[in-house]
């Protein structure tokens, strides 16, 4: 059964430079002197640090608990001591820092106790939680938590495994497929079962014949509905939406998910990690990284997560004319701000760049509207229109022209005869729009709180006034209810509640006086009357003395 292939418009064919690093098998990288493990695996997925400085950890021990809906666990990549929990630079164009756990290996590389999971007895949710606890995220670069991508087990009929690896220079997935095809397919089988799909399609670009063959042989011995499909080599066939389009014909727009169309896509590295987690109990602590470019020993290495890039470079022996390092591929990668940046779960390649291999771009000329960019855009956009709007900072119009459908693949910048860095303009516009949306939300929120505060103050005033009125009414009621309590008849109801309160207080005072004033002074005998007179005289004397003393 062969799968009918579709095509997407556009795409470019840069020189692939894959042979340099794909010839040798994956080597295991030695333990670096320090591991700097980032607690943040993506923009929205952070982890809460569970360890303290000075604590000893074992290999595979959980050191970070996922926070928020997109958080996943982070584990120690080797046994050792936690020496620091501090911000370190991350592989991002901003050059910003992120909180990392720094571990000094003790050399023993001792594993924490771990065992395979028996899936048959557990409910689906438990298996998903297991994957989350083992830190399984997408290894294609986006590091999206796998347990969330697996959805609710319904509505997906095709599982796509992405082995395309379309970017030039990168060969980590190629070697992984050649050497560990059985593990990858076993992981794919688990994913298929968890997601509830009917069939699995593995897409591999046809410039990797050995990988296709290895995967084919591994698939043949499984009784799974897996099909290994060779797709034409064209950048960016490995983009998730593009690969889904090629293999199934379905086009997914920005903002929509594959699950709405019955298809979901995972990287071969992710499938491999799932197999290691479920069948061997190993959390995600290492990945295959390609070291290539201007180096003497290009190749692929199995690297522990958290290994700083500078520790890896010695393995590849970069040549002296290397002027910078790229993490990722040449089309979508990031120039490293600092060589202390650690390898994270999504770092697939480090390229040593030299002026000869990656010449600096010539100066930007004006756009001549030649349309070459529109011809190669895999998302069928008009990049030059987006460029004109972004340049004018008219981000609203850019959004109307489907700016957010841009996957930032770089094909347009690649072909532009005026050497315009088109993707930079689009990235600028996108972050500008996101910033404005945030500000608008904050402003709306502030307006709501302000209006509520005004309402609250009004309400408090009214409540106070109501209380006063109620009290006044109450006292008036009391006054009118008890006769002879005061000499004066209660005055007619005053509008001012305060005056009523004052009148009530006066009445109370009179009452008290009356209460303490002696009653029954009419029928007294002579002795009592004499006593009263004496007391009165003493009181008068005391008063006079008091006033003398005072004056």
């Amino acid at each position: 059964m062969t799968v009918r292939l579709f095509n997407f418009r556009g795409g470019v064919k840069p020189d692939s430079h894959k042979n340099e690093s794909s010839a040798t098998p994956i080597a295991r990288a030695a333990l670096p002197p320090r591991l700097v493990i980032p607690l943040r695996q993506g923009i929205r997925s952070t982890a809460r640090c569970l360890v303290e400085v000075g604590q000893s950890v074992l290999k595979g021990e959980c050191i970070g608990e996922g926070e928020g809906p997109l958080g996943t666990a982070v584990h120690a990549s080797t046994s050792g001591t936690v020496v620091e929990v501090a911000p370190y630079p991350m592989a991002h164009a901003s050059g910003l820092d992120t909180l990392c756990v720094v571990i000094e290996p003790d050399g023993a590389d001792e594993w924490i106790a771990h065992e395979a999971l028996d899936r048959r007895t557990l409910p689906r949710e438990a298996v998903l939680k297991y994957l989350s606890d083992h830190g399984i995220v997408g290894m294609g670069g986006a590091t999206f938590p796998t347990h969330i991508k697996l959805g609710n087990g319904r509505g997906i009929d095709t599982l796509v495994i992405n082995g395309a690896e379309c970017e030039p220079w990168i060969t980590c997935d190629d070697r992984l497929m050649r050497e560990r095809a059985a593990d990858i397919l076993s992981g794919a089988a688990i994913l298929r079962e968890l997601i509830g799909a009917d069939r699995t399609l593995v897409g591999i670009e046809d410039n990797k014949p050995e990988a296709i063959e290895a995967m084919g042989r591994a698939a043949a011995v499984l009784s799974e509905p897996i099909e290994i499909v060779a797709v034409p080599t064209l950048y960016p066939a490995g983009g998730e939406k593009q690969l889904i389009r090629v293999l199934t014909g379905i086009e997914i727009a920005h903002g929509k998910l594959g699950s709405e169309f019955g298809v979901q896509c995972f990287n071969v590295g992710t499938a491999h990690a799932v197999c290691r987690a479920i069948h061997h109990g190993e959390p995600l602590i290492s990945r295959v990284v390609t070291l290539t470019g201007n180096v003497d020993r290009p190749g692929n290495h199995e690297v522990l997560i958290g290994t700083p890039v500078e520790s890896l470079l010695a393995l590849a022996a970069p040549r002296p004319d290397t002027d910078r390092y790229l993490m990722g591929g040449p089309m979508m990668g990031v120039a490293l701000p600092d060589l202390g940046v650690p390898i994270a779960k999504g770092s697939n390649c480090v390229i040593a760049a030299s002026p000869a291999l990656f010449p600096p771009p010539p100066p930007e000329l004006p756009c001549i509207r030649c349309g070459a960019c529109a011809r190669v855009c895999p998302a069928d956009l008009q990049p030059f229109e987006l460029y004109w709007f972004s340049r004018a900072k008219n981000v609203g119009k850019a959004q109307e022209y489907h700016l957010f459908d841009c996957i930032e693949c770089g094909c347009c910048s690649f072909v532009c005869p005026s050497h315009i860095p088109l993707v930079d303009y689009f990235r600028f516009s996108k972050s500008e729009i996101w910033a404005r949306e945030r500000e608008l939300k904050a402003a709306d929120h502030a307006r709501e709180r302000f209006e509520f505060r005004n309402f609250r103050q009004e309400r408090e005033k009214e409540e106070k006034a109501a209380k006063l009125a109620a009290k006044a009414a109450e006292t008036r009621a009391k006054l009118s209810g008890t006769p002879g309590a005061g000499d004066t008849a209660p005055r007619p109801a005053d509008e001012d509640p305060k005056k009523a309160l004052i009148a009530a207080a006066l009445a109370r005072a009179k009452q008290q006086k009356a209460a303490v004033a002696p009653k029954n002074t009419d029928a007294l005998d002579a002795d009592a009357r004499a006593e009263i007179a004496a007391i009165d005289a003493r009181r008068e004397k005391a008063k006079l003395e008091g006033s003398d003393a005072a004056s």
């Binding site: 579709f6 997407f8 418009r9 470019v12 840069p14 164009a93 030039p168 939406k241 389009r245 014909g249 379905i250 086009e251 727009a253 920005h254 929509k256 790229l326 990722g328 040449p330 089309m331 979508m332 990668g333 990031v334 120039a335 760049a353 990656f358 600096p360 771009p361 010539p362 100066p363 000329l365 004006p366 756009c367 001549i368 509207r369 030649c370 349309g371 529109a374 011809r375 895999p378 998302a379 069928d380 956009l381 008009q382 030059f384 229109e385 022209y401 489907h402 459908d405 770089g410 910048s413 690649f414 072909v415 532009c416 005869p417 005026s418 050497h419 860095p421 993707v423 930079d424 990235r427």
Partner: protein
């Protein structure tokens, strides 16, 4: 700081412009061989003027001069101006035309990539409206020797009427309107016509078509504009001719005469002022062909392409806006 992508295709504006100049060479060769060798002098004169004018404008606008001059876009504009104008014009008309194209239409609107109108066509329209008699002096093919041509260009107009003759289009118009003859009768008149177009002049369209095919092979132009232009021109002229073969010239005459082939491959396809979406290109080119035909047959000028181009240039923003192609994922239905 430089961001991804870090690799680029070896493409540049200079390469594109150079390819256009190469593509013009077969047409220029036919011109030299069949019509008038002095066109080479004109091309040289125009090139120098264009580069000087552009350098001056860039200096005035405080822009770097060397990168802009080396992209050869001014040279392409200059050559197109020369190829549209008659070859035996006095030199100052050519210079004036090039200056209008480079200074007014290109730089005053913002420089490379910013002109809403086609520079060569504005220059042609300005000149034909300002100097109608000079601009209608086309030499009969191959009948003037080089020395005379040079004298005319450098010296100025002198007894031109005795030397110049009518172009094919002009002869067709005068023949049809003034003398009321039928198309066949006009075509039989000696001197003006060759096998299917103006005598001698009909080789130029072949040269331009060859150049156009080269541009298409190099992926510098797409098929949309030339095909739409030629098809629309053939269609409308065919319809009129079939309706009344005596009054309206056949389609192959229109396709081979005037600047039709030059326009189809080099003028209509100007990326800066033309439509940019695939459907937009078809509408734009077809519109030019229709308007050009109407001006040729019913209008006051023998050649209507220049005015047609400018009229459609005005419509380009609307055409672009209305013909935006559907984006990946936003098409109706998931499968093609």
């Amino acid at each position: 700081m430089i961001h991804s992508p870090y690799i680029r295709k070896p493409a540049s504006v200079q390469r594109v412009m150079f390819a256009v100049l190469l593509a013009l060479l077969p047409g220029v060769a036919a011109y030299v061989w069949q019509v008038a060798e002095v066109v080479v002098v004109n091309l040289l004169l125009a090139t120098v003027t264009a580069l000087a004018a552009e350098a001056l404008m860039l200096a005035l606008r405080k822009r770097p001069v060397a990168p802009a001059l080396s992209d050869l876009s001014a040279v392409v504009t200059a050559w197109l101006v020369v190829l549209c104008f008659p070859p035996i014009l006095p030199w100052w008309v050519t210079v004036l035309g090039v200056l209008i194209a480079i200074v007014a239409v290109k730089h005053l609107y913002g420089g490379l990539g910013q002109n809403p109108f086609n520079p060569a066509m504005v220059a042609y329209c300005a000149m034909i409206v300002a100097f109608p008699s000079l601009m209608s002096q086309w030499p009969p093919a191959g009948q003037l020797d080089f020395q005379t041509q040079l004298d005319l260009v450098l010296g100025g107009a002198r007894e031109i009427d005795a030397i110049t003759g009518a172009t094919a289009l002009d002869a067709m118009r005068t023949g049809l309107r003034a003398s009321g003859a039928s198309v066949d009768a006009v075509l039989l008149q000696p001197g003006a016509f060759g096998a299917f177009g103006g005598r001698g002049w009909e080789w130029l369209p072949l040269g331009y078509a060859a150049g156009g095919l080269y541009l298409f092979a190099r992926r510098i132009i797409t098929w949309h504009m030339p095909v739409a232009f030629l098809a629309a021109l053939a269609l409308i002229s065919g319809v009129f001719w079939l309706a009344n073969p005596a009054q309206f010239a056949p389609p192959w005459f229109h396709l081979a005469s005037g600047g039709a082939m030059l326009a189809a491959f080099f003028i209509v396809t100007d990326p800066v002022s033309g439509a940019t979406t695939p459907r937009g290109k078809l509408i734009f080119a077809a519109g030019i062909a229709l308007i050009a035909y109407l001006i040729r047959v019913f209008g006051a000028f023998p050649e209507g392409i220049a005015f047609a181009v400018l009229l459609m240039n005005i419509c380009v923003p609307l055409i672009d806006m209305k013909t935006q192609p559907p984006v990946f994922g936003h098409r109706e239905g998931r499968l093609p």
